[in-house]
Symmetry: C2
Subunit: 390 residues, 2 copies
C-alpha cells in the first residue's frame, strides 16, 4: 500500500440499533487493560468469576457455562454441532432471521431439520410447532427467545412443554434477552443456550456465552460421532474452562476482561432492576413512536423490550432516513432483514443504552428527520414517553 | 453467587512465552475506543484499511484477505473447511503440535489425511513428505511456517515444489511468523494462509487473519458440498468483507480497531526492519541461553526467531521454575506440549516484546532463578547477548 492509514478514531455515536449497544467506560477500560497469558493464575481466576457471574445472570447452576471465543453466531453453531449428530431430528421456528440461521446450521451438522413456518413479527404457537413435529421423536426443539430481526419475545414455557412431549432438548437463542429480559434458564427448563455480549450486556461483540444443562451434557457424552468442529468442540473446551486447565486455544484475554466488567455492572445494578429498566424504557419508546404516527410491528404482549420494530411510513425512504439520523445526529438505528428489508426500522434500547435520555433523543431526532406529518407530533411523542414513565 | 467480584486489575507481566505477547499502549487504546455499528460507514473504512494493511504485511495481492472472528485455531479451521471436501487427500507434517491439530481438523472435515511423521524440533524434509504422498494426487499440502510448539521455522520453497508435483494447494500456518519473519505469501506461492494477532503483531488474541489465493478461490467456487461450518463459510463472509456489505455475523468491532493499530505499527516501523529486529534479538537470546549452559532444541538454520526452545536442565523442576519467574519477576515463559511437556521451555520474543531489554531481563531472571551451576554464568550470558548485538 502507498500510505499508512491514520489511527482509528471512531465518530461519536448513540447506538440505538439491533446491536452492538453503547459500551460503558469501565467496560472499555477493562478491555484495554494489559494483556496477560491465558494460563496465568490471575487470568484463570478471571475465567472462574466470569463463569460464576454468567450463571447468576442466566439463572442456572450449569457447570458448563462459559463464553465461546467468537460472536453470537459462533455460539449458535457451538450449541448445535455439539448436541446434534447426523440424522437427528431438529425442530426450528421460521418466524425470523435467526430461526432461519438455526435451521441452516443444523442442516450443515447433518440434522434432519423441520422448518416450522411462522409469521415475521409474531411469536410461535405451541400447536403449530406440535403439528409440524407430527408425533415423531425429536433430538432438539429450538426457540429464539428474543428474535432480533422482528422484535418478538418468545414465551419459553410452551416450547419446554413441547420439547417434553417430543423427548427433545430445548435449545434457546438468548442473544438479545440476556441481561435485559428474564432468562431464568433452569426454571424455564432450557438445556442448551447461547447468547451474545453486544446486546443487553453492553460489552463489545466478540464472545458468545453458552450454557449446557446436565441433560445436555449426557447427550454430548453419549455421542457416536466426533463433533465436526474442533474449534467449537465442548468436550475439548471444557478441559480449559474446567479444573484441568488443558490448553485448547488461546483465549481472547482482553474480551474476557471486558465481559467480566460488563457482568459486574449487571450484578451491581441488580438483575431485577435492570430488567425493569429495559421494560419501562421500551414501553416509553413504543408509546412515543406510536404518538409520532408510526405503526409497531409486534402486538402488545409479544414485544421484546430491548428491540422495538416499526413499519417504515409510506412514502418515506428507509435508507435515506437512517443515514440522515446517523449523519445529522450520530444516531444509529437498524434497518430490516429478509421480508422486513426496506420496510421496517429496528430500535434497540439495550443495556447501558436503555435510558430515558436515549428515548427522548431518539424520538426528537426521528421527528426532526421525518418532518412532514410526523414533525408536528414531536411534542405528542415526548409527552407519551413521559406519561409511560409516570 | 454471594458477592460481586472486584474489577479486573491484571498483575504486571512481561510476556516472554509462546504468546500472547505484550501489547503496546496505542493498541490497547484502540481496543478501548468507543464501539460503533458493524455497518457504520466509518467501520467499513476501518475494515478496508485492515485488509489493505494485512495484504502488505503478508506480501499478497489476494482479494480475500481479512480477519476471521476467532483466535488462530478458528483461522486454521476456516482455511481447512473451506478448501477441503469429504474424501479429499490432505498431506500434513507431524513435527509439532500444530501439525497434529491440522490433521485432526482436516479429518473432521472429512479429508483422507496422510500424517507424515516428523521429529519434534526439526523442519520437515521434502523427500520424506514426497514419499509419504506415494505419488497420489493431493488436494492440500499443509506446512507450519513457524511451529510454536517446537521453535522450528519451515522453509516454504520445498513445500511449494511438492505441492506442485502433487497438484495441491499449499496451506500455511503463519500464526507465529506474521509480522516477525518474512512470509511473502505470493512470492512463496502460498494458496491459503491463516495467522494470529497475539504473536508478532502484538495485538490481543481474538482474531485470525486469513488469505486465499485466486487458485484457492477457484477451488472454493467449484465445491460440490456446502462448507460444514456456517460461521466460517468464506462464501458468506466475503459478502461482508467485500463490496456488498451483506450482514453475516456482527464483527468484533473493538478487536478490529486493535488489529488496525497493530498493523499500523508494523508499517510505521517498516516490515524489513521489524523482521531484522526479531532475528537479531533471537540470536542474542539464543547465545545468552547457551552461555547459561542451556541446550537449544533446534539446530541453527531451522530456528524460528520469535520463539526459542531449550531443554529443561537435568534436575531442574520445570513448573516450579516457571512459577518462580512469574511470581518473583512477573515474567511469563512457556512450558512444552506433547513430547516436550515437562522437558522444554519456550521463550518468545514477539512483536513489541522483542527488545534488548527483554533479552537481558530474561537472562538475568533465569540465572537468578536457576541458581546453582547456572547462576555463576549470568555474566557470561549477558556478555554473549551483548556480543551478538555488536
Amino acid at each position: 500500500m502507498t500510505s499508512i492509514p491514520t489511527a482509528v478514531s471512531p465518530p461519536s455515536r448513540i447506538l440505538l440499533g439491533p446491536g452492538p449497544s453503547d459500551v460503558p467506560a469501565s467496560v472499555r477500560a477493562a478491555l484495554g487493560a494489559p494483556t496477560i497469558g491465558h494460563l496465568d493464575p490471575y487470568f484463570l481466576s478471571v475465567m472462574d468469576e466470569v463463569s460464576a457471574m454468567l450463571r447468576t445472570v442466566l439463572g442456572t447452576k450449569n457447570r458448563l457455562t462459559f463464553p465461546v471465543s467468537g460472536t453470537g453466531s459462533a455460539g449458535m453453531e457451538a450449541c448445535l454441532v455439539n448436541v446434534v449428530e447426523p440424522g437427528d431430528r431438529v425442530l426450528v421456528p421460521q418466524n425470523g432471521a435467526f430461526g432461519a440461521r438455526l435451521a441452516e446450521i443444523a442442516e450443515r451438522a447433518g440434522a434432519e431439520v423441520t422448518r416450522v413456518p411462522g409469521e415475521w413479527g409474531r411469536a410461535m404457537d405451541e400447536d403449530v410447532m406440535a403439528r409440524a413435529a407430527a408425533g415423531k421423536k425429536y433430538k432438539v426443539v429450538c426457540a429464539v427467545h428474543g428474535e432480533t430481526s422482528t422484535g418478538v419475545l418468545q414465551d419459553l414455557a410452551p416450547m419446554r412443554r413441547l420439547a417434553d412431549r417430543l423427548g427433545a432438548l430445548l435449545l434457546v437463542d438468548a442473544v438479545t434477552t440476556t441481561g435485559g429480559v428474564a432468562v431464568d434458564m433452569d426454571a424455564a427448563g432450557v438445556d442448551v443456550l447461547y447468547s451474545g455480549t453486544q446486546k443487553c450486556l453492553s460489552c463489545p461483540p466478540g464472545l458468545s456465552p453458552v450454557s449446557f444443562s446436565p441433560r445436555a451434557e449426557d447427550v454430548m457424552a453419549s455421542r457416536k460421532s466426533r463433533v465436526q468442529s474442533w474449534y467449537l468442540d465442548v468436550s475439548l473446551i471444557k478441559s480449559y474452562w474446567g479444573t484441568d486447565r488443558v490448553y485448547h486455544h488461546t483465549a481472547p484475554i482482553n474480551m474476557t476482561y471486558a465481559l467480566h466488567e460488563a457482568l459486574r455492572l449487571v450484578l451491581e445494578e441488580g438483575l431485577a432492576g435492570r430488567i425493569r429498566r429495559h421494560a419501562v424504557n421500551a414501553k416509553a419508546l413504543g408509546e412515543g413512536l406510536a404518538a409520532l404516527g408510526l405503526s409497531l410491528r409486534v402486538p402488545e404482549g409479544e414485544r421484546l423490550p430491548p428491540l422495538t420494530t416499526v413499519a417504515v411510513p409510506e412514502g418515506v425512504d428507509d435508507a435515506a432516513t437512517r443515514r440522515a439520523l446517523l449523519d445529522g445526529y450520530g444516531i444509529e438505528i437498524g434497518g430490516g432483514l429478509g421480508p422486513f428489508k426496506g420496510n421496517t426500522w429496528r430500535f434497540g434500547l439495550m443495556g447501558a443504552g436503555s435510558t430515558r435520555r436515549n428515548v427522548l433523543v431518539c424520538l426528537a431526532a426521528l421527528a426532526a428527520t421525518l418532518r412532514g406529518r410526523h414533525a408536528g407530533k414531536a411534542g405528542d411523542a415526548i409527552a407519551a414517553a413521559e406519561a409511560a414513565w409516570e
